[in-house]
């Protein structure tokens, strides 16, 4: 069951008179509580749990100071302060996603967490696929969050190879390079089409491999202090086999880059032109591309040469990668945060409610189910390998039936989970169609063995089946 967590500390700050603080009411209606430590004609600096936040005057509608607000605050918080926290939650959230009101009577923003990997082992192409995010749509539609945080913790290299060279649709002649575009389409278009109007925020804990491309489709991108954005060099290696022909290589390379750039293009449209530059992506993918940066106010101009004011990548042996600090320095990320409270604070969200379980459950269910199914497939394959090595039934008929049962099981799992089909193809070279034919062939062998048995039985006296001494009569 989905649960709603309240960020207890921040909620307490907002609702307990003992902790009443100054409040900044922003033009967009957001209220930020903290202690004003300085102010001038341009901005107010607010201290929130030791973190300083500078809010420009142009964004402020009203400043409510502690001394002015204290009585009202105490009054407003009276029912809360007299009731235990648990009871308050229960009362206020009898409806699963019912909105809590802040001291000023405004609904407190609701933040949903959307996992893009959890433990880092999850991969684009298996766990991170469009259908998982499509499955989250009904949950998010009911929830109607104000913000969705795409929490990226994904390293394509950690568990297995890249999916790039694998065909998702076996009938297709072509490798499937569109997956990233399809995922980005769900996140940036489908969610909105389905009535989910939350503001997206991307929080990268690790984005190594294709998830780096997906992360760069967000203009509001933040990282944890240990994050890496990069690891796309594997994608570039796909076309090494045609390197000797510069035009063929050029064709594949640009076509592939064109597809990879799609999510960034979509991201820029969704962010009204803000977002990440195609040149940055090109340098993340191809080792031979130089990259330089020139700061232009609050943005960076990227160039695939050494002409910029700072040379980011000057070698042709490896593609560029960014640590969290570098991502911040080059304005790829808007800031660093090691927990959600800090992340949302960077986004000027102080008082909020958080649902970090509903989408996670959808994600985990899918991930656990297909991994379990894949484990069963691996066991079946191992058993067949053992059979070949002499472990298991000894007579031919039983051996054939043993293999048939396991092949059918693998096929069933491959049909049920696209991730299993993909992994079986990557790891064991198994295709669904190939397996179907092998099953048919095995069934035919079994039929022939039965037929031969009957033939032998007939030859030995022609006793009708079921009579006399039976099959293999002596």
């Amino acid at each position: 069951m989905p649960r709603l967590f309240i960020t207890s500390l921040l909620t307490l700050i907002a609702t307990t008179s003992a902790f009443a603080e100054d409040q900044i009411v922003k033009i967009n209606g957001a209220i930020i509580s903290g202690q004003i430590i300085s102010e001038d004609g341009d901005a107010v600096v607010l201290s929130i749990r030791g973190i300083e936040l500078r809010i420009p005057m142009s964004e402020i509608r009203e400043i409510v100071r502690d001394e002015e607000d204290a009585p009202a605050s105490a009054e407003a918080s009276e029912p809360s302060s007299s009731a235990p926290m648990g009871e308050m939650q229960k009362a206020e959230f009898s409806n699963k996603w019912e909105r809590r009101m802040d001291a000023s009577g405004n609904p407190v923003p609701l933040v949903a967490i959307i996992p893009v990997g959890t433990e880092g082992r999850e991969q684009v192409g298996t766990d991170i696929v469009p259908e998982v995010y499509e499955a989250m749509i009904p949950v998010l539609r009911d929830m109607q969050p104000d913000y969705v945080v795409f929490r990226v913790n994904c390293n394509d290299k950690r568990e297995n190879g890249y999916w790039y060279q694998v065909k998702r649709e076996e009938a297709s002649m072509l490798n499937d390079f569109d997956l990233l575009g399809e995922i980005a389409d769900v996140w940036h278009n489908r969610f909105e089409d389905e009535g989910i109007y939350a503001q997206p925020i991307c929080w990268v804990e690790d984005a190594v491999g294709s998830s780096a491309v997906l992360s760069l489709s967000f203009c509001d991108l933040y990282t944890s202090s240990e994050a890496t954005i990069g690891g796309l060099q594997g994608a570039a290696q796909m076309f090494e086999r045609v390197r000797s022909d510069e035009n063929t290589y050029g064709k594949y390379r640009e076509a592939f880059l064109g597809m990879f750039r799609g999510p960034l293009e979509l991201g820029r449209i969704r962010c009204d032109g803000a977002g990440h530059d195609n040149a940055l992506l090109d340098a993340l993918v191809y080792p031979d591309m130089r990259l330089s940066a020139t700061w232009q106010g609050r943005s960076v101009k990227w160039e695939l040469n050494r002409k910029g004011s700072y040379i980011v990548d000057d070698n042709d042996k490896s593609a560029v990668e960014f640590s969290a600090k570098e991502a911040g320095d080059f304005l790829i990320s808007k800031g660093m945060a090691d927990d959600l409270d800090d992340l949302l604070l960077l986004h000027e969200l102080v008082d909020f409610d958080l649902d970090d379980t509903s989408c996670q459950e959808v994600f985990d269910d899918y991930s656990e189910d297909w991994r379990k199914a894949l484990a069963e497939c691996k066991t079946a394959i191992e058993e067949m390998q053992e059979l070949q090595a002499g472990v298991g039934p000894s007579d031919a008929m039983r051996q054939a039936q043993f293999r048939l049962t396991r092949m059918k099981k693998i096929l069933r799992m491959m049909n049920r989970y696209s991730a299993v089909a993909l992994r079986c193809q990557m790891e064991f070279g198994l295709s669904k169609l190939g397996l179907e034919v092998q099953i048919e062939q095995l069934e035919e062998q079994i039929r022939a063995m039965r037929s031969n048995d009957r033939g032998r039985q007939g030859g030995r006296g022609g006793a009708p089946r079921g009579g006399g001494r039976g099959i293999g009569g002596r």
Binding site: G181, E246, N247, G250, K251, E254, A255, R261, E265
Partner: protein, 449 residues
């Protein structure tokens, strides 16, 4: 939001409201206007990819609604054949000659008179609603993506809107495919355009032969995720240079020129060594193209030139740079935005009938089944019936060949691409028939002992 180029004509208004009105005032963005008699010959100057070209001919099939110029167009018939002209691209227009036939009396639907037995057309005309057809073309060119479906959608357009004027939107999502099929597709699109229909490609992915198809259309719009280009011809893994086969380069250049694109764009899409740059006038939006080869520009690049393909790079567009240089006319994330681009009533997407989608689905299903059966049949050939003796095996093989024959008739190119019977479609059928006869003979011999 639809990012349309807004560099052209403001609107067009009827000079006289009568249903027999012949004079039309074209009101231009610069405040000027031109009155022309649509029944007479006209000379039209059109801005095509930043280059002004002038055509003389007679206006037909004017489709317009006052105040909403985007997406409106007319057909111009002249010595050059028939050409679709977007009203927003008209830089100048003037009457030049004598009045034509009475056919062009009604400027709204001048060349669309309902004929008996064509109820759909009559209905379309009666409602005055623009005929719109949609054909998704997805997959390998020559495989899932063929000229046959485009031929049929053209026929439906003729049926629903005789004399032209239908809009056919082709969604293109392809990594490319066969050159020969690509040429057939381009010829088909050219024919449809010559019959007065407007063919718009909406690109999700138009790589190689897919891009060739897109460039044959009247206009290109992109999906935000879209990409187009990389038209290098490859045999095996080796690229084909123009010195080896000039026709492949010439064909793409011809397609580009016909649709108003710079030939530098075509060359850069084909081979790395060709270079392309452009300069866009910030006020008029006019684009000047520059080309070069092997690191040398044919003429010096002016300041502000945007290089889109270097000597080491194959040209492939994304939505943003395609829009910036005019290769694309808009970016539409879904069909509603395509409708907005096309200026359909209330900006809402519709199709006049759904035969385009059905065509696409039927062929996609057939293709999928055929490729799957081809693989299964090839495998079965090895083992089917062998455990039950020679006669059973011969019977099974005859059965397999009969199914191959069925598919060779239904999906000849798929069988050619995936089967062991050769590439010539007619030869394949004969080849399979011969093999069936041979096996039948063997079976008879076997039975005779």
């Amino acid at each position: 939001m639809n990012n349309r180029l807004a560099h052209t004509i403001l609107f067009i208004a009827f000079f006289a409201a009568s249903s027999f009105a012949e004079d039309i005032r074209f009101q231009l963005a610069n405040g000027g206007s031109a009155v022309v008699d649509v029944a007479s010959s006209v000379e039209v100057t059109v801005l095509e990819q930043g280059v002004e070209r002038t055509y003389a001919g007679r206006i037909e099939g004017l489709k317009t609604k006052a105040g909403k110029p985007d997406g409106q167009y007319f057909m111009l018939e002249g010595d050059f054949g028939r050409k679709l002209i977007m009203i927003r691209d008209v830089a100048a227009i003037a009457s030049t000659g004598s009045r034509g036939s009475a056919q062009a009396k009604d400027p709204m639907f001048s060349d669309r008179s309902p004929t008996s037995g064509q109820a759909a057309d009559a209905e379309a005309d009666a409602s005055g609603k623009q005929v719109v057809l949609y054909l998704p073309l997805e997959g390998g060119v020559g495989q899932e993506f063929r000229h046959q479906e485009i031929v049929k959608i053209g026929e439906y357009a003729d049926e629903l809107s005789p004399g032209g004027g239908a809009i056919i939107v082709l969604k293109i999502n392809s990594n490319g495919g066969l050159v020969a099929e690509s040429i057939k597709i381009n010829d088909t699109i050219r024919e449809i355009k010559s019959r007065g229909h407007r063919v718009v490609s909406w690109i999700r992915k138009a790589i190689s032969a897919g891009c060739n198809t897109a460039m044959a259309c009247d206009e290109i719009v992109f999906n935000p995720l879209g990409t187009a280009g990389s038209v290098t011809t490859v045999r095996g893994t080796a690229s084909v240079d123009e010195s080896q086969d000039p026709a492949v380069m010439e064909h793409l250049i011809m397609t580009a020129k016909e649709s108003g694109y710079s030939e530098h764009v075509a060359r850069s899409m084909k081979l790395n060594r060709y270079m392309t740059a452009y300069v866009k006038d910030p006020e008029t939006g006019k684009v000047e193209w520059y080309g070069g080869v092997d690191g040398n520009w044919y003429e010096p690049l002016p300041e502000g030139a945007v290089v889109i393909s270097t000597k080491d790079q194959n040209l492939s567009f994304n939505a943003s740079n395609a829009l910036a240089c005019g290769f694309s006319r808009g970016t539409c994330r879904d069909l509603d935005e395509v409708a907005e681009y096309l200026n359909l009533p209330d900006g809402e997407w519709y199709v006049t009938d759904t035969r385009g989608e059905k065509l696409a689905k039927n062929w996609a299903d057939t293709y999928k089944e055929c490729t799957s059966r081809m693989q299964i049949l090839s495998q079965r050939w090895q083992f089917k019936g062998s455990a039950e003796g020679a006669e059973a095996q011969l019977q099974e093989r005859i059965k397999i060949l009969r199914e191959f024959l069925y598919w060779a008739r239904k999906a000849p190119l798929v069988v050619a691409m995936n089967g062991p019977f050769g590439m010539d479609e007619e030869e394949i059928v004969k080849n399979i028939q011969r093999q069936i006869k041979l096996l039948e003979q063997q079976l008879r011999d076997l039975r005779r002992g």
